[in-house]
Amino acid sequence: MADQLLDVKGLNCPLPILKAKKALKAMPMGATLEVVATDPGSVKDFEAFCRTTGNELIESKAEDKLFTFVIKHTA
């Protein structure tokens, strides 16, 4: 169970990433953010976002056109 949930269903690039960044910025280090998206591009986008920002992508899964990511705020 993540510390915070961010629902970005229905939003397209680049809004899921921008909203995730905003949420992470307000969270303490070590806290986890669960993001639920419907944009298929978000899978690779969140991988790249975590790689470049240094945050940790703990989980990435796709189910019934729903994409869920859990990000640990580490940077």
Binding site: N12, C13, P14, L18, K21, K22, G54
Partner: protein, 132 residues
């Protein structure tokens, strides 16, 4: 993390190119990448303070689609990039001069000032350069 700065030279007034510049600038900035945008030529007109979206954004097929699908407003994306990351925006001093405009004719809270092309190109030697 060390990420090369991104320099975007935006001179087109086409909606599609302004939207792409806003998307690249905001995503780059929130990905811990310093971004600088230099706005010149027809692009300056799209940043006119207080313009309604139908005046601000003129383009082709994708412009119509972006409006119909309520894609995020480019000005909003630029603002979010500035709020969440290291994004600087410069208005071309020449373009403002030929328009007879001061910086206050452009949207508030977006521009860090005016700049000449020589300085922007000089700064851009250290990063990735994109023209739209």
């Amino acid at each position: 993390m060390a990420n090369d700065p991104l320099y975007i030279l935006l001179c087109s007034g086409e909606h599609e190119k302004i939207q792409m510049a806003a998307m690249m600038a905001s995503v780059g900035a929130v990905s811990e990448r310093p971004v600088e945008v230099f706005v010149s030529m027809n692009a300056v007109l799209a940043f006119t303070k207080g313009s309604a979206p139908e005046e601000r954004y003129r383009g082709g097929t994708f412009s119509d689609l972006l409006k119909a699908k309520n894609a995020p407003d480019a000005m909003t994306l630029f603002r979010q990039g500035k709020e969440l990351g290291d994004l600087k925006m410069w208005a071309c001093s020449m373009a403002l001069d030929v328009q007879g405009w001061e910086l206050d004719r452009l949207e508030d809270d977006l521009f860090d000032g005016t700049l000449g092309l020589t300085k922007f190109l000089s700064d851009a030697e250290n990063g990735q350069f994109i023209t739209l």
